[in-house]
Amino acid sequence: MATVTMAQALNTALRDALTADERVLVFGEDVGPLGGVFRITDGLTRDFGEQRCFDTPLAEAGIVGLAVGMAMGGFRPVVEMQFDAFAYPAFEQIASHVAKSRNRTRGRVSLPMVIRIPYAGGIGGVEHHCDSSEAYYAHTPGLKVVTPATVEDAYWLLRDAIDDPDPVVFLEPKKLYWSKQDTDFATRHAPPFGRAIVRREGSDATLVTYGPSVPVALEAAEVAARDGRGLEVVDLRTLVPFDDETVAASVRRTGRCVVIQEAQGFAGVGAEIAARVQERCFHSLAAPVLRVAGFDIPYPPPKLEHAHLPGVDRVLDAVDRLQFDDVPDVRHLIVGAA
């Protein structure tokens, strides 16, 4: 057992995948000698050679399109988009090819590939470097969408993603890159790909969340516990496939639910979760499913992140509002994404 950061876990996962499967390739912008702007690919070119980990010219559509052709040719490309908003130039390749190839060839051309994207905020980044873009991908049929919240999950979910027969958009919460955990990767403790996990048990309400907001939810639960309120925290881990079973079971037990996401609220993944939960658990619910989300504004600048990001206070506030009537009062609405 050693203390490992999420960044190291991802690096180790890439190394182990490169070792385990010679079809695995890593490429993107600055992933070679520099080791990526977040150093996730540190040392891979040195240790596995130019053939296995290499820099491309700057062109995100090109990188994803190249990966499509290479996956057709038998490789398993793991490409890096440098930042969330810099994956947008590749959107057509992702939506019209990566997501659809298996379907439009009746299963003959599968595209096992991983598109790694550092995403979300909380690190004081300037514009275009903090977008939470998960909804764009999760809404696109044919893509699996994953976001780890712990060091162990970072390792195992990335290994799973690389082994997966389908294309996976792998969203890495930037602010958790330096989070730590005592672990080794000799034995697997992480649940299977596609399953959510209850990170903390509680009986008064369920917090459903993923990626960068998981630590926020856990902290909120910790604070609430001191006040005698038991909050259950569900970490989705994969947004697609979505684990209805774990989520619904928890909400049926607690009868209350708050959904937490960093992304702007409107038509985000949180909306989907809220919609699903009330569809499935309506008669178990003592209160509406509330959402705590980013505001419907472009991601704010470093000094104002704190006002935007769903933090512990806003989560606890939402929990406090889980049993009111429906007078159209502003305090009543979802926090952050009303």
Partner: protein, 371 residues
């Protein structure tokens, strides 16, 4: 400093620049012309075969157009007039090479050996491409413009990195060269020295937009220069020239000398698709002028003069073409709906729980309807 020397620059430019006039072996009237140095005429057997495929290809094309009128195809983009390009693209490739076609390249697929009915699967209203791309090494016909060109580079890289000898050929139209993906593909291929041939069929129109509104370049072949990609232009209605130039291009790529860009000057004789009305944006006179440049007539005259093609040969080819058309009609007339429940089967390798639920729901609807 790290700037390239003037001499080296001049030399390297010469490597990239296309011929000043399109390469041509046969004049419009079918008489031979002297091609520029560096290009050899294909042997007679190949030309004979090319002729046969062109006759079959054209018949396939007119039959497919006819099928749209009967509602058997949702839409069909004809490549009539472009047969020299379509056939040459298929004939210069080996079995282990790959072809990345667009929606307009059905005739090339037929020439490559894809079952004609499978070629038309998507266009008849199925959601998949019909054939097995992996088996026949032809990517699904691609509609989002220029996106396939990057895939071809990826495949070329895959083959190169696996130590295979295959070449990938990407087909693209004149209009498609305006898209950003075209640029990214050429640049990637040049930097990686990928074994890929970019074959631009400049048929002068992108739906209604004429070439002059698409590009101000002297010719599209010059688009390779800025990437350090060797380029050539060819008379796209001269089957001998197209075969010759594409052979050079494929050999160049196969020899590990990097990508090659070929622009063929040709013409789209029909409207963009059956749904389009070309009279809104071009003169009948222009179309007429291009009729004189018909690639089939040209090759026929040329080969007859060389005694490579006889009346009997032509008769035999036409009769084969009619059989192909009859077979196509017969097989396309079998109505084909597809199983709606299969819609859930190929979204992922394993359907997600959500897709399974949705599938069950649809199945239940059908059962309810049957009751």
């Amino acid at each position: 400093m790290s700037t390239i020397s003037a001499k080296a620059l001049r030399r390297s430019m010469q490597n990239f620049l296309p011929s000043l006039a399109p390469v041509r072996f046969v004049a419009e009237d079918g008489t031979p012309e002297k091609p520029p140095p560096g290009y050899r005429a294909p042997d007679d057997a190949l030309l004979r075969e090319a002729y046969r495929r062109m006759v079959l290809g054209r018949r396939f094309d007119t039959q497919a157009s006819a099928l749209t009128k009967q509602g058997r195809l949702a839409v069909y983009p004809s490549s009539r007039g472009q047969e020299a390009c379509q056939i040459a693209a298929a004939l210069v490739l080996r079995e282990d090479d790959w072809l990345f076609p667009t929606y307009r390249d059905s005739v090339a697929l037929v020439a490559r050996g894809v079952d004609p009915v499978e070629v038309l699967t998507l266009l008849r209203g199925d959601w998949h491409c019909g054939y097995d791309p992996m088996a026949i090494r032809v990517a699904p016909q691609c509609t989002p413009l220029a996106t396939q060109v990057v895939h071809a580079v990826g495949m070329a890289e895959a083959m190169r990195r696996k130590g295979e000898e295959g070449v990938a050929m990407a087909l693209i139209g004149d209009g498609g060269t305006s898209e950003g993906d075209f640029h990214e593909a050429l640049n990637f291929a040049a930097v990686f020295a990928s074994p890929v041939v970019f074959f631009v069929q400049n048929n002068k129109y992108a739906i209604s937009v004429p070439l002059a509104r698409q590009s101000a370049a002297p010719t599209l072949a010059y688009k390779g220069v800025g990437y350090g990609v060797r380029s050539e232009q060819v008379d796209g209605n001269d089957p001998v020239a197209v075969l010759s130039v594409l052979t050079v291009a494929v050999e160049h790529a196969r020899a590990g000398r990097g990508p090659f860009l070929v622009e063929a000057h040709t013409y789209r004789m029909d409207a963009h698709t059956n749904a389009d009305d070309a009279t809104r944006y071009r003169d009948a006179a222009e179309v007429e002028r291009w009729r004189a440049a018909d690639p089939l007539d040209r090759l026929e005259t040329y080969l007859r003069a060389r005694a490579v093609l006889t009346d009997d040969d032509i008769e035999a080819d036409r009769s084969d073409a009619e059989s192909l058309a009859a077979d196509l009609r017969a097989r396309m007339n079998i109505a084909h709906e597809g199983d709606p429940l299969e819609l859930f089967d190929h979204v992922f390798a394993e359907p997600t729980p959500q897709l399974r639920e949705q599938r069950a729901l649809l199945a239940a609807e059908f059962t309810a309807q049957e009751d």
